[in-house]
Amino acid sequence: MVYFILKRMFQSVFVMLAVAFLAFSLFRFVGDPITQMTGVETSVADQERLREELGLNDPFVYQFARFTGDMLKGDFGFSYRTRQPVADMISSRIPATLELGVVALIISLLVGVPAGVYTALKPRGVLTQAILMTTLVGVSIPTFVIGIMLIFIFGVQLGWLPTFGRGGTVQIGGWESSLFMIDGWRALLLPAITLGVYQLTLTMRLVRAEMMEVMRTDYIRFAMARGVPMRRLHYKHALANTMVPVITIIGLQFGGVIAFSIVTESVFQWPGMGLLFLESIRFVDIPVMGVYLVVIAFFFVLVNLIVDLLYVAIDPRLRIKDVS
């Protein structure tokens, strides 16, 4: 088991390095940061001097080595645009994105899992068909349209919820959280729903498919034949076994949720990493873009490591050696 975890960590490091390389090398081509950093009237000679100062004229490999080396030292460089340390910029935005992503994930689980269970247990019900159809339409509308619609319905027309930003936040040891104020929750609701819709459908369909699969297994039929109470059978037996594969897929998807929050953040002016990333693209702020990619990849491998550990926790077959 220790070996298993070590192996996954080794693979994670490989993924991180590859992403760092990609991030750096690809963004090296995005455009000329100099024209963005300087004003309308800056002379060509001044631009060239700045280029030299920033090391943009050095050979490519040299620049990458510097990039990775600095990163390992915890030095993520400075933004071309704001001249702030990238580490500060990104880390100050991480709470917003993570809270959005996690709440979206929780919403999608809170709704998706029961809906999946219901539709799996009553595959022919009218409500099942309605749920399936609604969610299908839900995932077929582009996220940004859903977001804007929600804003106009609940923000502008009904005036129930704020239309942008994080609302009230509380600083807890450097972590700026929306979760401790009513205002924060109100602001979080619409973006989280927008971000969660796609995930919700995915979760529901996955749970439904796995659950139907599990309900046909011998151990469920045997539990039926022993007269195990239905509620216990559905939740303790079937759902637990359903969640084993579902957790992996959700883990794989979480990185996508974080990345897809780019769209949601841009619609709701949610001050997270995604918004920062979009601004950085606009200004060709290469250090910020590069670090963002690396951070996203880091979340991805981290979540998957957690999923692996969860697996071990849930599934005794991985935890306890076979004695036979």
């Binding site: 993924v15 077929s140 509308i141 582009p142 769209v263 996203i296």
Partner: protein, 301 residues
Amino acid sequence: MIAFLKKYEGLWLFVHSPAAMIAALLAALILLGAVFAPWIALVDPYDLASFSLFDGLLPPAWEDGSNPKYLLGTDDQGRDMISSILYGARLSLVIGLSALTIAAVLGVGLGLAAGYYGGRFDAIVMRIADVQLALPAILTALLIDGIARGILPTAIQQDLRVAVLTLAIALSLWVNFARTARASTFVQMNKEYVQAAIMMGQHPLRVMFVHILPNILGPLLVIMTVDLASAILLEATLSFLGIGLPADSPSLGTLIRIGMQFLLSGEWWILWIPTVFLVVLVVSINILGDFLRDVFNPRLR
């Protein structure tokens, strides 16, 4: 008839599934409209001389101030909405289908080989897939877009926009195919017909493509439909983020992006008609995907 239908179970299921039939009908109509757009459409939205700003912002035919020539109205450039949508669907489908083809060829090829050879080759492919997964679709697309912008001469960037977008979407989809193909191949590798073929000394490529591939097509087909839907949506989202197609050669996604500007201004048709159209298209494809899933996995029926 019954005997015929019994033989082709999928067909039988199909004619007994109203949702699938309606979806197929709508998808087929849209596909036909897209294919024959140059013959059906009133104007060619790519030909700047064929429309005039003078006709701009006309509402659909049933509203006041409309021009009956433009049944669903015109946009802010004076383009007929119907024509734009037909051409837009054409472009969206071209991008979606070509991205899908590239992703399928790449993903299935790698997945088959990984499943067939296993071991180190498999490990390498899966690590590459991990890296790809760590960069979700939207980031991959942004990356590809960025690199294309950087390395292509500006002169041809415009012409290669569709190709770049297609490649970007394709790269974000191939992992799906690779993982599914790999998993299915692993299952097939234990089947005795594959062992028989290997034992005979058949060429690995023949074993992979002639023997295994036809047996794993089912799940791949399901992925194809689902991914076609997500490719179309992804293209729309990229357009929203401003890295999609230019406004003068609009896809459905670009039309929606343009329409977003008119969300509040009263010209609702510029946003909602393409949106409804897109949703109908994507829902249809998804329903067909569901249907195929049911056919290939009868236990879920």
